[in-house]
Amino acid sequence: MNPKSDDDLLAIFLHARRCDREDAPVWRPELLERPIQRPASPLRLIPAALVTASVIVLAVFLTRMPQHELPLSEALPPLFESQPGELFASVEPSLMSFEAPSDFLLPDHINPYNP
């Protein structure tokens, strides 16, 4: 792989390799020991339990909440409560019932109040 012309670089790298080997940390077999798996602590389940309980309580509250909204037919204002009658009856009384203050000046034959 390394031709003769690369011997200069090879020598430098090998020197570095020797130096690094002296600095390398000692081999520790315990590094390969499988870490002890801790059993799941019951305390770790508390947040999940709290969230679940909150969701259940909220769902029950929403489903059992009394409904205050009226149906639409009841909510609308009563627009046609007045009894049917003559239009503008109160504004323009009929001619028959009209009595002007100057009616006494009329001739007798056309005065309706003259017996």
Binding site: N2, F13, L14, A16, D23, W27, L32
Partner: protein, 176 residues
């Protein structure tokens, strides 16, 4: 944990540390952390050798991946939010090696590490795997998860670049 795997890991331990050291840009403490996390993955069977490649290339791939994970974690710690959280938790530590540690480092090794740090990461990786770990280019390609053609290109360019970066007096045979 099978005895055979433990024996192989023990035999590869010094070279694995050298590879972790390279993946961590020469930071001794981080390299130890990375190697320890990689051993933990094997112990917890989160990393298992499936026999498709040699044990050494598989193991070096695990270390490389673990180092990248550690790098991302380190980048998070260096972020503003990470620093704030570390101050709150009181878990801050200095990732830099101590001055005494720096003095102990061999000058030639430090120079090599400085030059490798100036190379693109892929070029530095393939040079380390070939010259330091004595892997073939095919094995280096398996560790780096790139094609053999790409590895060959990184290898040739990396060698040329490293020679220009290294000082001329570094090319002498080291006296041991």
């Amino acid at each position: 944990m099978e005895r055979a795997i433990a024996d192989q890991l023990e035999a590869l331990h010094p070279d694995a540390f050298g590879w972790a050291l390279h993946c961590c840009a020469g930071e001794h403490g981080r390299a130890e952390d990375v190697l320890q996390n990689a051993y933990l993955k094997v112990a917890q069977e989160r990393a298992q050798h499936d026999g498709r490649s040699s044990f050494k290339t598989w193991w070096f791939g695990v270390i490389r991946f673990t180092a990248h994970e550690e790098f991302r974690r380190q980048r998070y710690r260096e972020s503003l939010l990470g620093k704030l959280l570390l101050q709150l938790t009181g878990d801050a530590h200095d990732p830099k090696p101590s001055p005494a540690r720096k003095m102990e480092l061999d000058e030639r090794t430090a120079e090599l590490r400085r030059c490798l740090a100036q190379l693109p990461a892929r070029q530095a990786e393939v040079l380390h795997l070939v010259f330091y770990q004595d892997l073939t280019l095919n094995e280096a390609a398996e560790v780096m998860r790139v094609s053999i053609g790409s590895v060959r290109q990184h290898y040739e360019r990396g060698k040329a670049r490293l020679r220009t970066l290294l000082q001329p007096d570094d090319f002498h045979e080291p006296e041991v």
